[in-house]
């Protein structure tokens, strides 16, 4: 009785999250993994243990192509985000002298996260479309004469949209990493004869790597699992792995194949996360 009372807090504190993880994470993943070995038998599927679904994924060029395309798009989104976010974060930390302006600019990056994701993706339809803002501007500026359709419904529009949506996740960790670098390290570098450009590459860049790694991981994983942007602004060649999964669970009614795809996706994401984590730890420990 008293033992129970003594251990009750510990049981509650550990038990509730544990139950949560088992019920809403491990169990669904288990079900998913189980399904991935099942057999599709029209109109439903039957329990089995075979690797046919995985075999299809890695032999049917259609799926391999989608997987590679998704990786390519995600990497492009990461790269575009990095190229935009790094200079921006650097400017905020090193060049923006007014704390108030810095806060406002930082909030300007974060604020879109409060708006519906769908809306943010949809906005790019109205910017890039044939009747859109970009075309109107180019016609007004006299650069083109008739509206162009090259901006929308292709991989370019997808990268643009996804970059816009996920860039806060790149800005935040890089900003934090840059802010944590002691100011006197750059002074020491200047003191030891290195100009600003050299100091940037030898001090700022290596010391902000944990932030870059974290931003890269977040952006990659989020883009990798996205299915709304391809749906809204992606063209016929814009199908990503998440769209294929949606189809398998929906109209194609092939849950086993969809599950196998999901498992593959999960493995890729976990791989990227652990890689990012390792880079972060290594650079944080100083052992570059």
């Amino acid at each position: 009785m008293s033992a129970l009372r003594r251990h009750l807090p510990a049981v509650l504190v550990l038990g509730i999250p544990l139950a949560w993880i088992v019920l809403f994470m491990l169990l669904p993943y288990g079900i998913l993994a189980t399904y991935s070995f099942w057999l599709k038998k029209y109109p439903t599927f039957v329990p089995a243990f075979q690797f046919g679904n995985y075999l299809t994924l890695f032999t049917d060029p259609q799926y391999v192509l989608v997987l590679l395309r998704t990786i390519k798009i995600s990497l492009l989104v990461c790269l575009a985000s990095l190229l935009l976010a790094y200079p921006f974060a650097w400017f905020l930390v090193y060049r923006c002298r007014s704390a108030q302006i810095r806060t406002w600019l930082y909030m300007a990056v974060i604020a879109p996260l409060w708006i519906s994701y769908l809306l943010r993706a949809y906005i790019w339809k109205t910017i890039l479309g044939t009747e859109g803002v970009l075309n109107s501007f180019l016609i007004w500026a006299g650069i083109i004469e008739t509206p162009s359709s090259i901006f929308l419904y292709n991989q370019f529009s997808m990268v643009v949209t996804l970059t816009y949506i996920f860039i806060p996740f790149m800005v935040m960790p890089i900003y934090t990493a840059l802010e944590k670098i002691p100011a006197n390290l750059n002074e020491a570098s200047a003191d030891l004869g290195l100009g600003p450009w050299r100091s940037f590459w030898r001090v700022t860049v290596p010391l902000s790597m944990p932030g870059v790694a974290a931003g890269f991981t977040l952006t990659f994983c989020l883009s990798f699992g996205d299915f709304v942007a391809p749906f809204l602004v992606g063209g016929p060649d814009g199908n990503l792995i998440a769209n294929v999964i949606t189809t398998q669970f929906g109209s194609a009614l092939n849950w086993p194949l969809g599950s196998a795809l999901s498992v593959v996706m999960l493995v890729v994401v976990l791989g990227v996360v652990s890689l990012g984590d390792r880079v972060e730890r290594r650079s944080a420990a100083g052992g570059f």
Partner: protein, 365 residues
């Protein structure tokens, strides 16, 4: 001695109201160990950072070995700095920290190796070559920072409170070590500190700063024995200040009414008869007279307080008019209970005329 650093009417005004450094002219001799001493906010760090090139002066010029370097960025000055918290690169080994930037000086691979070896040998940490800064103790980090600055053979080495992050014991040890090192390498050191002991132990010259200006410059002995103002006397060493009035004065000596008695003092500037002055007395320069002994200046009073501080006793003595001064009693032998003067004991104190500081004005600090 030729001047290596010359500051000419150097100022740093952040705004008309906020003044960091105000019109300082100063010359530092080649090979000298000069300390900028003062409380926080006196402008000593700003002055150091301007010499290093990290802050731009609003007026005046800085010359390094006769050359105007006022507008040069830090990486174009033959000056190096040891930062307060060392600023070692956490992502590089000790070896790479020390070798940092040597390639840009045009050193060959072999020369870099030799130089890093020599610098680390000098601070006695060659075996730490492959370790990272976070694997070192505070004192070791401090030495690596020193090695990194010295390896470039600068004309001047700046040290920003180099010992403030170390514990008391290590700090004491590093004081002499740093001084020895400076004499060995022969580089001019300019150090900033708020610790007067540090300044006295290490420096050839001390510049005491007050509100962005130089309060006094001189050797440690000059500052300690002949402070130019109440501010300096108060900042360096311990001083008891008492209000007094000049009774009589000629060119070199004055008789001053003080604490219900009268004492003689050596002076180096004229004082008028009846002028109100502030007298400064150092506790360790005051002697307790034995029964029947006489001296030039005798002050009578009663012991009102006894403070034991290991090295000796500090006695608080209340004079006839109620003012209190302190007198030190060194204990060359283990303290025997009987030797402690009891509170209330009548004592006679002696202080030599050349040990009496006379400052104009009544304001005691």
């Amino acid at each position: 001695m030729t001047a290596i650093i010359e500051l000419d009417h150097l100022s740093k005004h952040y705004s008309p109201a906020i003044i960091g450094v105000d019109d300082i002219s100063l010359s530092v001799g080649d090979g000298e160990f000069l300390t900028l001493l003062g409380p926080s906010g006196c402008g000593k760090s700003t002055l150091l950072r301007m010499i290093g090139g990290f802050e731009e002066p609003t007026a005046g010029t800085i010359r390094l070995a006769g050359q105007d370097v006022t507008a040069l960025p830090p990486y174009r000055r033959a000056i190096n700095m040891v930062f307060q918290d060392y600023a070692l690169f956490p992502h590089m080994t000790v070896g790479r920290n020390v070798a940092y930037g040597l390639k840009l000086l045009g050193c060959s691979e072999l020369e870099i190796r030799t130089r890093v070896y020599d610098a680390l040998k000098l601070v006695g940490l060659y075996d730490k070559l492959k370790l990272y800064p976070h694997q070192l103790s505070g004192g070791q980090r401090q030495r690596i920072a020193l090695a990194r600055a010295i390896v470039r053979r600068p004309k001047v080495l700046l040290l920003d409170e180099p010992l403030s992050a170390l514990d008391a014991k290590l700090r004491e040890q590093m004081q002499t070590e740093l001084k020895r090192l400076q004499e060995k390498v022969g580089i001019t050191f300019i150090m900033v500190t708020h610790d007067q002991t540090e300044a006295l132990v290490m420096s050839d010259q001390i510049v005491v700063m007050e509100k962005g200006r130089i309060a006094q410059k001189g050797t440690p002995q000059q500052l300690y024995d002949h402070p130019a103002s109440i501010y300096v006397a108060n900042f360096i060493g311990t001083t008891t200040f008492l209000p007094g009035a000049v009774e009589a004065a000629d060119q070199t000596t004055a008789r001053i009414a003080l604490g219900g008695g009268e004492i003689a003092a050596n002076i180096d500037r004229p004082f008028a008869r009846g002028e109100r002055v502030t007298i400064g007395l150092r506790p360790e320069k005051i002697r307790i007279l034995a029964e029947g002994e006489t001296a030039a200046n005798v002050l009578a009073g009663r012991v009102s307080e006894v403070i034991y501080y290991g090295l000796g006793l500090r006695l608080g003595v209340t004079l006839a008019d109620g003012s209190r001064i302190f007198a030190d009693l060194l204990l060359p032998d283990t303290l025997a209970r009987s030797q402690v003067p009891p509170v209330g004991l009548a004592v006679r104190l002696a202080v030599a005329p050349h040990n009496v500081f006379v400052f104009a004005g009544e304001e005691a600090a």
